[in-house]
């Protein structure tokens, strides 16, 4: 529960409000092993602590990578830190994406905005073990072209013959030649067998609700849909209760949940 001091190895600007930190792992011999979908608590000394999904490659535990959106006092300060600056890190915490259960199945990844960051480790994993999975589709939605996260990687994944990548944005000017519209509008073009498909989705909760509705419409049931939930995680060990979500704690039982297990609470206003 005590943060390990780590230094910033690299800081990369992704979009106007999003940046990626590569940290020295707490254990310089072993690195920090994690399951795709897990998160750490990053501590800015004297200011506060925030839960951030690990967005690096699980095969490279020596590179501890987080993509962060500057939205609060901690993350806004982190955005302007320098290489070599110190942070505290705890974790990894939580349950990740169902990469084992998904073997042999069609995979649909649906990400919106910064929601691509927690899904990037699973994409790295799927591509590395490509032969173990059937058809893979990656659907990504962003607000505008300038807000597209990991645009070079999306382009590179899209250039492969064994993965379908579709990107759509909410609004564009006339110099955009891609899709325009909400990310759920891409679902009709996805090639998958609804009975043997696993969907992993992360993004704004309302986007995931719309996605679940559309997925149900095309025959993919809740037990094949996994969502990454976001709540006010503080202790990250399921003891403080801040991230309680129905009978679960997002930090300990999530952040990735199978949708049928949280369906009664998914979208409920008071929860």
């Amino acid at each position: 529960m005590v943060p390990h001091p780590v230094s910033i190895r690299e800081l990369q600007r992704e979009t106007h409000d999003t940046f990626t930190l590569t940290l020295e792992p707490p254990d310089r011999d072993q690195g920090l092993s994690f399951i795709p979908g897990q998160f750490t608590m990053l501590y800015l000394f004297g200011t506060g602590e925030v839960p951030i999904s690990i967005s690096g490659d699980p095969a490279y535990p020596m590179r501890l990578v987080h993509t962060i959106r500057a939205v609060g006092s901690v993350t806004r300060t982190m955005q302007h830190m320098q290489r070599g600056s110190m942070l505290g890190v705890r974790g990894p915490f939580g349950k990740g994406w169902p990469v084992e259960e998904a073997r042999g199945k069609d995979i649909v990844i649906i990400a919106g905005g910064i929601g691509l960051a927690p899904l990037r480790p699973v994409i790295y994993h799927l591509l590395r073990e490509r032969g173990d999975y059937e058809h893979i589709s990656i659907l990504y939605g962003a607000r505008c072209p300038a807000d597209i996260l990991y645009s070079r990687e999306l382009e590179s994944w899209g250039g492969r013959f064994d993965v379908d990548v579709s990107v759509t944005i909410d609004y564009a000017t006339t110099d955009w030649y891609g899709d325009v519209g909400v990310v759920t509008s891409l679902l009709d073009k996805v090639r998958c067998d609804p009975g043997k498909t696993v969907v992993m989705t992360c993004g704004p909760e309302i986007m995931m609700r719309f996605a679940a509705r559309e997925l149900n419409r095309i025959g993919i049931t809740d037990e094949h849909i996994y969502v990454s939930m976001e709540r006010n995680m503080q202790c990250a060990a399921g003891t403080c209760g801040h991230c309680q979500y129905g009978p679960s704690f997002v930090c300990k039982d999530g952040p990735v949940f199978r949708l049928d297990r949280i369906r009664p609470f998914f979208g409920t206003r008071e929860i």
Binding site: V71, G113, M207
Partner: protein, 155 residues
Amino acid sequence: MSDIRDLEQLIRAHPFSQGMSDEHIKMLTGCAKNMHFRPGAYLFREDEDADTFYWIRAGKVAMEVNAPPRGTIQIDSRSEGEPLGWSWIVEPYRWFCDARALEDVSALAFDGACLRGKFDQDLPLAYEMYRRFVPLIHRSLQATQLQLLDVYGAS
């Protein structure tokens, strides 16, 4: 004759005709033609009469609105396998935006005005068309609501 047969096959092959009766497919074939648009060409313009609708066979089309002083904004897009345009079925039958080909586009173009004229005499045809187009309108409305929420904006 072979052109008509080819056209009918193109219509049958399009995802939007799935489950449609032979009779209705033949009726649509009688109102259809196969068209190609070069990149930059407009399939329709805002405020024009919405007398034609399209099923895209290949390529991508941007739906745009001119919004001074911001300029032209793309609000939606359509591509292979999708229908384009439902203003032909809703009064006052005018396009509410521009549709511009972003790349080479092949599309089946249907005479919507002609089809509309048959609705009163052929209620099953009218039902078939509304049954297919109302869900499009519904989903378009939902998507618009989601876009208006600006869900990816800073929280």
